[in-house]
Amino acid sequence: MVVSTAETTLLIDAMIFGNLLVLLAVGLTLTYITLRIPNFAHGDLATIGAYVAYFIYTCFKISPYLSIPLAFLISGTIALLSYLFIFKPLADRGTGIIGLMIASIALEVVLRSSLHVYADILSETYKVISRGFLFRDYTITLGTLSLPYLFIISSALSIFLIFSFYILLTKTKFGIAMRAAIENPNLAEVLGVDVNKVYAISWFLAGGLAGIAGAFLPFRITAGPEVGWFMLLRTFASSILGGFLSIYGAMLGGYAVGFAEIIGIYFLSKPPFNISTAFRPAISFMILIITLLIVPEGLASKIKLEKISKLLKTIKRSKKQ
């Protein structure tokens, strides 16, 4: 295959960005399908992951890739606590959707301000920059291609995620209980599913995935306490493009938005248009608005899990042949 290097890098960038958005959008969708609230604090869970990785990197000189499990745990725990102590009590008290949305904005402000305070303390005590930091990535050369580690690790993680979610949702008892609890909480409860436990685990997983994405973010974007907020709009665009109720839709949406943004701005910033690259977030915004106005039920509304499993089976068969 003859591909010029500029185009290869572009595709690699788009793939990485897509992977990050998939991690974020799957989490956002997971929280949305539980209580039906768009969690505006989702971006800040990613920021927490970024700071966990950065703290470990500056203190112990350990590669950010190795702090992924810790980022997963810490962001997941914070998401779980926010569900247990804020959203669940509010939902139990009969607070409406708008009330829950306001609470999630309040949580967003609290988390972001806390991260600002933490960044100030970090730079004060360790004398390091705590805003606008970047991680240095290494590349490995495969033939003529030089691939950044981030590309390999984030892609592997996303593929792993897609398969593990598929197995979790279709093959395990917990996954089936989860789907039941999401589809009809009351009926699932009657049939003995612990809906609260299922929701709590969903929130933990969502926060954890955001934390992983956060640990990856400083490889690509200069990170600070606001980095999660900048990703939030794109995350919403991805989730809504995917239908907001479907985990596979979120994956599809993540890649669609990631590729659209990276490749779109690449072409829009070239001579015929000459648009400043600073307008990049506008692409996600356009996707969001157009999706809401034209296909509010999202792309995934027509793609069913059964169809995917059929597709996978045909792929397996074709591989055997």
Partner: protein
């Protein structure tokens, strides 16, 4: 007042920001408290007013004076002070510019509200909230990167349309005018919510389907309210730009929307006195923190602590006092009519 270096300055600032936030919280209360539109993009309309004031005043006056606006962005501070000197000698023109800007803010806010109401008709409350929030961010990104508007990241300085008033009472007069405008919007919204339209919007909030079944055009009414609320926010934006005398895109973060929500949730949703109380509580806390900031020794910016504090307060109020400090009261009209009947019988 003990510990406050300049009490008069403090009071003027307090009143000015109270007036601006009063207008914003009242208009959000009209949209959310009375009509049930979750406007998470309030800052969009506020920014619209401020941006139009920042973008237009200096350029317009440069044309009137007959000066060229070459390299406007690099020299905008210079141009603004030049224009201010000219305005100081022309009271009539200053007043004219002030009134025109208020109208322009009203129109721009209203137009943005009209554009935003287009999805408002079609979307559920969740999606509407997301869209409005995202639109606010989009306007900020555009303003930040599109230099001809308000000079991008540089920001633009706004001339003083009150320069013709003697310096000793200038700020006092300006703040009084701001408070006057804010109080008149307060009375206007109060009157509106007591009118038949006010009863209709509450009916829509409480049960949209019932209102629709009585033949009320829910979509049209919601549009009307969103345009009205946005126009008020636009005027507040103009007043803000004229008071602060500069406009920066990054002043209009979604954090401002959050602050206005804090005000109406603390004060009481669906109660204008509550909204006023909420804005007063927030503004006075913010101003006091600004005053005492230098005395607090901390390895971080104290402002963030106040955001954390208000965030937690908001969540606690949602949990334990969801109707706010001053809950919505039933309409006063029936009682008033009874009193009149009694008076007539006597």
């Amino acid at each position: 007042m003990i510990g406050i270096a300049d009490p008069i300055r403090f009071m003027i600032d307090l009143t000015a920001f109270f007036s601006i936030y009063l207008m914003l919280s009242i208009s959000l209360n009209l949209e959310y408290g009375y009509t049930g539109i979750p406007n998470f993009g309030k800052v969009l309309f506020f920014a619209g007013g401020a941006f139009i004031a920042g973008a237009v005043i200096t350029r317009l006056l440069l044309i009137i004076i007959g000066l060229s606006s070459k390299n406007y962005c690099s020299f905008n501070v210079l141009y603004a002070s030049e224009v201010t000197k000219y305005l100081a000698e022309n009271p009539l023109l200053s007043i004219l510019i002030f009134v025109t800007m208020l109208l322009a803010g009203c129109i721009v806010g209203g137009l943005l509200g009209y554009v935003a109401s287009y999805p408002a008709i079609r979307l559920k409350e969740t999606y509407l909230g997301i869209t409005l929030l995202a639109s606010g961010e989009l306007l900020r990104i555009v303003a930040r990167n599109y230099d001809p508007l308000i000079c991008g990241t540089l920001g633009v300085s706004v001339p003083d349309v009150f320069a013709w008033i003697p310096a000793s009472i200038k700020e006092f007069v300006q703040v009084l005018i701001m408070l006057g405008i804010a109080l008149s919007t307060w009375f206007f919204v109060e009157k509106l919510t007591r009118s038949p339209l006010g009863r209709l919007i509450r009916a829509i909030r409480d049960n949209e389907i019932a209102a629709e079944s009585y033949g009320k055009d829910v979509v049209k009414v919601r549009m009307k309210i969103l345009v009205l609320g946005s126009a008020i926010a636009g005027i507040a934006g103009v007043l803000y730009a004229l008071y602060v005398r500069s406009v920066h895109a990054d002043d209009f973060m979604p954090l401002r929307t959050f602050i206005i929500w804090v005000m109406i949730i603390i004060g009481g949703v669906g109660n204008n006195i509550g909204a006023a109380l909420g804005s007063f509580i927030y503004v006075s806390t913010e101003r006091l923190i600004m005053q005492y900031k230098h005395y607090i020794v901390a390895p971080f910016d104290v402002n963030y602590l106040s955001y954390i504090f208000f965030g937690i307060v908001l969540i606690l109020i949602l949990m334990f006092k969801p109707k706010g400090l001053l809950p919505e009261k039933p309409s006063k009209t029936t009682e008033f009519e009874k009193i009149i009947k009694k008076l007539k019988k006597k």
